[in-house]
């Protein structure tokens, strides 16, 4: 009876109620959208690497190591010698390692020197493997595998020849022009920094740098015969990722790396470091959430005001209800129920708005920013915040509800 009366009463005031529902739905939409984008950003951020137990690099800050090894942001402080890499890889706890060698670029995209294990062991998201949309992994020193964004924005296809630049600027004066690379594979989009990376074998990196002295190009074109003669074992790498046989050994191995004598190295747990990095960006998120909650509060107070004004007009109606036996408590509940119904309606509209918004912007975001927004906007946090809104509504609508008990007597 209560809900029936509440909904009929709302239906009898369509314009007022409609506008209130609209203002509430906009503010809830803002709240949900910020929360959703934050969650998705966090998910795609923390999913840049998975299945890797430790990342090892020269001793530096853990955020710095994470930034240059995973996000290809910033510069490594120092390299790791090949011998140290070999020594650590040979430890009995280690299942596999992926070497990373950075420092070159191609038209603004970073070049990553690595081994073929990269394609079999590197995982992102929820333990997803890299998949080729075209071609296959590299086999020869001058093969290159492109990330999805690189291939798309530079319009490269299999068989194209490209030259790498020394350094990471988009216009470099020192090109490795003598030794062009051939595109042999293109990866499917991952929504991570892999999409913006060119992957070449460590041997290729070594080969184009052979003959360089102190950053000056004295190299010549290497024929395939030359390649056999030259020792292409790299002298240094930038960092390496480690997969352990047992997760139990993570901290033991981390300590071993940190205490490694021949060289000053450090090992980080990617998940922990990612979480720490995300926390640093949490300030902006906090500000956005604060603003959205203020907007929401304003809308709820607006609703309360609308209802308070209506109470005076509805005096007679409440009196009739009292006459036929409704208690003052029932009338308070009626007003609360109306407020809850308005809010629930606002929430439904907000969710629909968000879904349509995502549907329309999904392709745009995915193609321009490699950022995939999922339609699944519900999680525990989201439901909790919606429940919290309802609790606040109960408090805010107390004002008109209590006022009604005074007016019903007149």
């Amino acid at each position: 009876m209560l809900l029936k009366l509440a909904s009929r009463s709302l239906l009898s005031r369509k314009v007022n109620v409609g506008l209130t529902v609209f203002s509430i739905s906009i503010s809830i939409f803002i709240m949900l959208a910020i929360g959703h984008v934050k969650n998705e950003a966090k998910a795609s951020f923390t999913s840049v690497v998975s299945g890797v137990d430790l990342i090892v690099g020269a001793r530096t800050g853990q955020i710095n190591l994470l930034l240059y090894s995973i996000f290809r942001i910033g510069q490594p402080t120092n390299n790791i010698s090949w011998e140290s890499y070999q020594a650590l890889s040979a430890r009995k706890e280690v299942a596999w390692t992926i070497p990373i060698s950075l420092g070159d670029s191609h038209k603004g995209f970073r070049v990553l020197g690595t081994s073929s294990r990269y394609f079999s062991h590197f995982k992102y998201g929820n333990k997803r493997e890299l998949v080729f949309s075209n071609g296959e992994q590299f086999n020869r020193p001058f093969d290159v595998v492109l990330g999805a964004d690189v291939a798309r924005s530079l319009q490269y296809s299999l068989g194209d020849k490209i030259t790498l630049s020394h350094g990471v600027a988009s216009t470099s004066f020192s090109e490795h022009a003598n030794n062009p690379f051939t595109v042999v594979g293109i990866l499917k989009p991952t929504g991570t920094s892999v999409d913006q990376t060119l992957h070449v074998p460590l041997e290729g990196i070594e080969a184009i740098h052979s003959g360089w002295q102190s950053g000056v190009n004295l190299s010549q074109k290497l024929s395939s015969n030359d390649l056999d003669k030259v020792n292409l074992t790299p002298k240094t790498i930038t960092a390496f990722m480690v997969g352990l046989k047992s997760k139990m050994a993570t901290f033991t191995f981390q300590r071993q790396v940190n205490q490694f004598q021949p060289e000053a190295l450090m090992a980080i747990l990617p998940g922990v470091s990612l979480a720490e990095l995300w926390r640093m960006m949490g300030v902006i998120e906090g500000i956005l959430l604060f603003i959205s909650s203020l907007v929401l509060l304003a809308a709820l107070i607006g609703m309360s005001t609308m209802m308070l004004t209506a109470i005076r007009e509805r005096r007679k109606e409440f009196f009739v209800l009292r006459v036929i036996g409704a208690s003052p408590w029932f009338i308070m509940c009626l007003i609360q129920a109306e407020a809850i119904l308005i809010t629930l309606l606002g929430m439904c509209v907000a969710i629909l708005l968000l879904w349509t918004g995502i549907l329309f912007s999904q392709d745009l975001l995915a193609s321009h920013f490699g950022f995939f927004l999922s339609l699944n906007i519900f999680n525990r946090e989201m439901l909790m915040s919606l429940a919290l809104v309802l609790v606040i509504v109960l408090f805010v609508s107390c004002i008109p509800a209590i006022s009604s008990t005074r007016h019903a007597q007149l």
Binding site: L5, R8, S9, S12, V320, R322, V323, S327, P328
Partner: protein, 240 residues
């Protein structure tokens, strides 16, 4: 006292009186010394039709709200059907009103955004009557028929009805729970002479059929002759 003797004609000996007021004192303004309403003694027997005459603004409506338990006196006892309702808790008093008292006003008897049927169903709901919904529908149809209303108006919103129709639906609303007491506050003031006559005859038929007690308040003394007896509100209220 004369009234009290006359009223006992219809009263069965084992039945409590319909209404009994004892030293009732009520004021809105607690600071003032003279009360708005002071009734030393008044009683109404069962199945009586009593006319209360009085000018508007004399506190008649206050008396009716005290009888129905919408207001509670500062002192004294309001006994309805033998129960001292001003000592009941609010929720019990509201339920008592829903079950035993039907009220009709000059206007705005019905909730405008509900249909006729929903208005009456709401009144039925608050009485927590044992009757199931089907019996409610039957009872409503019967009432509408007795009130010369087309059952087709059931689904109409009450705001769309004429005032005459609204007042008759108000009778149906007041009687749906078969209350022992009907309180009518100037119910005919908004009606023209013909409609007024028609209204009173329909009301009387139903009141007699239910053996209900009717308290009818009006400033129009010409209606007095329809009733078993009448009371002058000015004489009833000792505070004047």
């Amino acid at each position: 006292m004369n009234n009290a003797i006359k009223t006992s004609l219809n009263q069965k000996p084992d039945e409590p009186l319909a209404i009994e007021l004892e030293n009732v004192r009520f004021t809105y303004d607690k600071a003032s010394d003279s009360p708005l309403l002071q009734v030393n003694h008044w009683q109404v027997a069962r199945a009586q039709k009593v006319f209360v005459a009085g000018k508007s603004g004399s506190g008649k409506s206050t008396l009716l709200e005290l009888l129905s338990g919408l207001l509670v006196p500062q002192a004294g006892a309001v006994k309805i059907l033998g129960k001292t309702i001003n000592h009941l808790r609010t929720a019990r008093r509201d339920q008592f009103r829903a079950q035993h008292i039907g009220m009709i006003f000059q206007q705005f008897n019905l909730i405008p955004w509900l249909s006729v049927e929903q208005n009456i169903a709401a009144a039925h709901y608050f009485s927590k009557g044992s009757g199931k919904h089907k019996s409610l529908v039957n009872k409503l149809d019967e009432l509408l028929c007795l009130l010369r209303l087309d059952t087709a108006i059931k689904s109409q919103r009450t705001a769309e009805l004429s005032i005459g129709q609204q007042q008759r639906v108000a009778i149906a609303r007041a009687l749906i729970n078969e209350p022992e007491i009907i309180i009518a506050d100037e119910p005919t003031s908004a009606l023209d002479a013909d409609a007024c006559d028609h209204f009173i005859r329909l009301l009387f038929d139903l009141v007699e059929k239910n053996r209900a007690t009717l308290i009818f308040v009006s400033h129009d003394r010409s209606l007095k002759e329809y009733f078993d007896h009448s009371v002058d509100f000015q004489k009833l209220n000792a505070s004047f």
